[in-house]
Symmetry: C2
Subunit: 501 residues, 2 copies
């Protein structure tokens, strides 16, 4: 059996090598590639992705998994070996169901669709991209249909990013969250609007980046095992457990942009960097799900990086770095500015309180599209109506309406948005649990020390990689199931104090 396991790992390592190479090519494309490189880069990534898929769905892997099954049954569920065999089988069977020709067609179409969207968005031209979105939707339905027996047509698509989550469980959760968030937003926006003008003074870009790097080093991000580069749309990417990189963007007149995107991507990176090295180059060497991954980016960005204890330590340093801009601004005003709540049109600029309203309406709309309850042609207007209803604002164009997010245009319609809100819910759940176990975390933050928090997250979440599903992990960490209460407690406490509710 040792020999079979060795063979399986060798095959999985080959797949990992190909996938990691795709990640390097993608990182280069997003950071340094000159414009001329684009056409060839598309075909290079397509070839490598296809080979990775071919190698992963090789019947020899199925054969090895079958042979290893009895061995896995005798081992503890959470052992490296049993987990490897279990999770690999799950991913293998998911991958096998989709014919390679469909995968190729889908990738080819979404690449095209992405390019059309990238031109249609600045031109505010939904009509131009509409037929591509229609085809994306048709293909997304076909993709779901390769997994017959689903409860809801979105379930197989959700499975790709948040394995085991279902519309039947997410919808009521989101419904309850929405019902409880809307009054909070109303109460806050009834107050006087916060002035955040101080964040939009002129902040030299290199200093902004230097400050962000200083913070994430304190978080425990190790520049010997990663690096930060500039890009248009920040992301985290992993080439190996010891090479996990982040990207950011920086705007001279927006102190939020580089700083919080840096903390956010560093959170994703800390997760990957904390995976047990024994899991390297296997399907276990990644985060559990989109939701759990997002919980870590949001935790380090918000629960830590937008908290008062954090800024008690770092605000004097920020003032030292930008004396002209901040010396006369006191901590409370700065803290209020970075936590300003407002009804707005753009998801990525949204504050912690309204953010989920942006996400959940997208989730609802994509379900309606998949269900056939909403036609693509009617989507722009449906978007405006939902924004009016949930956020009380309405865009005058589609550029800041339905065209603002890339997701539906560059991938499947369905499965992309729920992770953002699940992440927020999980961030609060995990953070509350960490504080319960180690109340000194708050005092440590005031001293710029994140060791206890980081260690707790590594031991309870990061080290496991993707051994467990989201629900299993929540069960292990909290002893219960997914609940929105800690998240609402967190928001009510923090913003209740800020807005004196």
């Amino acid at each position: 059996m040792e020999e079979k396991l060795k063979q399986l790992k060798a095959r999985l390592r080959e797949v990992d090598n190909l996938q990691s190479a795709v990640a390097v090519l993608n990182w280069d494309q997003s950071t340094y590639m000159p414009p001329g490189g684009a056409p060839a880069r598309g075909r290079q990534m397509a070839t490598l992705s296809r080979l990775a898929q071919e190698k992963f769905t090789d019947p020899a892997i199925g054969q090895l998994l079958d042979e290893l099954e009895p061995y896995a049954q005798e081992l503890p569920y959470d052992s490296d070996q049993a987990s490897l065999i279990r999770v690999t089988r799950r991913d293998y069977e998911l991958a096998l169901k989709v014919p390679p020709t469909f995968t190729a067609e889908f990738h080819e179409h979404t690449a095209l669709s992405y390019n059309v969207w990238a031109e249609a968005r600045p031109a505010d031209d939904f009509a131009r991209v509409q037929p591509y979105l229609q085809k994306n939707l048709d293909l997304s339905r076909q993709l779901a249909d390769f997994y017959p027996g689903y409860e809801h047509i979105a379930d197989p698509l959700i499975n790709y990013s948040d394995y085991g989550m279902k519309v039947a469980t997410i919808r009521p959760l989101f419904g309850e969250l929405r019902d409880r968030l809307v009054p909070l937003v109303e109460a806050i926006t009834a107050q006087q609007e916060t002035d955040d003008g101080i964040l939009h003074r002129a902040y030299p870009e290199d200093k902004q980046l230097e400050f962000g790097r200083r913070v994430i080093k304190r978080y425990g991000y190790d520049f010997e095992r990663g690096r930060q580069d500039k890009t248009h749309h920040p992301f985290m990417t992993k080439f190996a457990l010891d090479d996990v990189r982040i990207t950011t963007r920086v705007q001279k007149n927006n102190l939020n942009e580089a700083l919080f995107s840096t903390l956010h991507e560093a959170g994703h990176a800390l997760y990957e960097l904390g995976i047990d090295p024994a899991l390297e180059a296997t399907p276990l060497a990644t985060g559990t799900s989109a939701g759990v991954h997002e919980s870590q980016s949001r935790l380090w960005e918000n629960q830590v990086g937008r908290s008062m204890p954090f800024w008690r330590h770092f605000y004097p340093q920020l003032q030292d770095m930008f004396p002209d801009q901040l010396h006369s601004v006191d901590l409370d005003d700065f803290y209020a500015a970075i936590n300003k709540v407002q009804r707005s049109l753009i998801r990525t600029d949204a504050d912690e309180v309204t953010y989920n309203l942006h996400v959940m309406l997208r989730f609802e709309l994509e379900l309606q599209l998949l269900e056939g309850e909403l036609a693509v042609a009617d989507l722009p207007e449906a978007w405006h109506e939902r924004y009016q209803m949930d956020l009380g604002v309405r865009s005058h164009d589609d550029r800041n309406g339905v065209l603002q997010d890339v997701h539906w245009f560059a991938g499947s319609v369905g499965g992309a948005f729920q992770g953002y809100t699940l992440g927020n819910i999980l961030a609060a759940l995990f953070f509350a649990k960490a504080l319960e176990a180690h109340p000194q975390i708050v005092d440590e933050m005031v001293n710029g020390n994140f060791d206890t928090l980081h260690r707790w997250l590594r031991q309870n979440i990061y080290c496991h990689g993707s051994k467990f599903t989201t629900s299993e992990l929540v069960q292990r960490v909290t002893g219960g199931s997914l609940t929105i209460d800690p998240y609402l407690d967190y928001l009510r406490t923090k913003f209740g104090e800020l807005y004196e509710l």
Copy 2:
């Protein structure tokens, strides 16, 4: 036949996609990769290289080549199609002769050997790396033996980089060159030594890089189709015909370093960027040989970048950029400094006149090793003796002796050095031909204009990619065969004037 050709090209494109991905991974490793990324990067590149090799030696490619042979016979020799079929067959048959297990063993050993060398060199510890070099030599002999029927055991190794060249033709050529260079070096070094202290003043690094970029833009290097990054050992790399990148290194107290390495690598890049786009993603989309490639880097570095007409244009700009360092230095003194001839120990720092003496003694030594005339244990002393004999200098250590170049430790012993001197010979040959066709090239250089020269090189050399062998190309361009006369004329004229011989 159109269909067969299409199938062949599709297979070759897949190989190219894999090879280009390896190039991206290698570029990243040499420029931006954090230290932690190294172990995984090794296995990623190994997997991709192996897959490229497997795909290229797929019997289906042999089958297609067989079927296309009659078609190729009816087409002009220099047509894209006939050239593609001919050159692919040549490379295919070369690749087929070596068992994949050997290739894997060889790569594994050289990767190990490289690491040992990288530690042994600064420690000046030849004994440490000696067994690895011995194995490199043994494997190089085995590699050659996969091509039975050679005249000299080095010929198959030379074929990899300079196809069609043989020891029987190179040795007499180099012998003659050496006989004619040695008196020139003696005559020059009998003169008073040039003072090049001005090149070692403090030159801010970013300004040095800016100046180099300015020059290569005038050469025609297009930053929309490439970029320049910093590295330890400068190189040029190609990911596609529209993404050809260069790297450089910069030293504050050495004006030569960044500038001439930039011009050198830009020369390599102009070659690749000038290949006919119709040849993209096939074995024709690369330079003809190591020698012809080096001819272009050396031509743009030396015949152009170390010439008086070039500096008549650029020196005032350099003075403007570095007024404190250069305002009181006149053009003649600057020109003398960048062309200073001296007997030295290090090949990469050598001037145009002595450079080939460094190269040719390495070529001789590797032939003796392969022939069994020289034992690895005796190599360090043989090195010192040859330096004493050819250059009149002797290193007190092996660090600046046999350990100075990576080639024998990171690849085959044999085949790596001849290209440098062939490149110098060819640079002079091609440059003389270009001047003969367009004497105005010199006047254009004085005006900072390189259009006629660049166009002539594109039309006569670059556009063809690797359609022709070195000899075929020389025949087409010059109407004759390879000769050292233009090179010696060039050196004698330039350095005769400089040193008033």
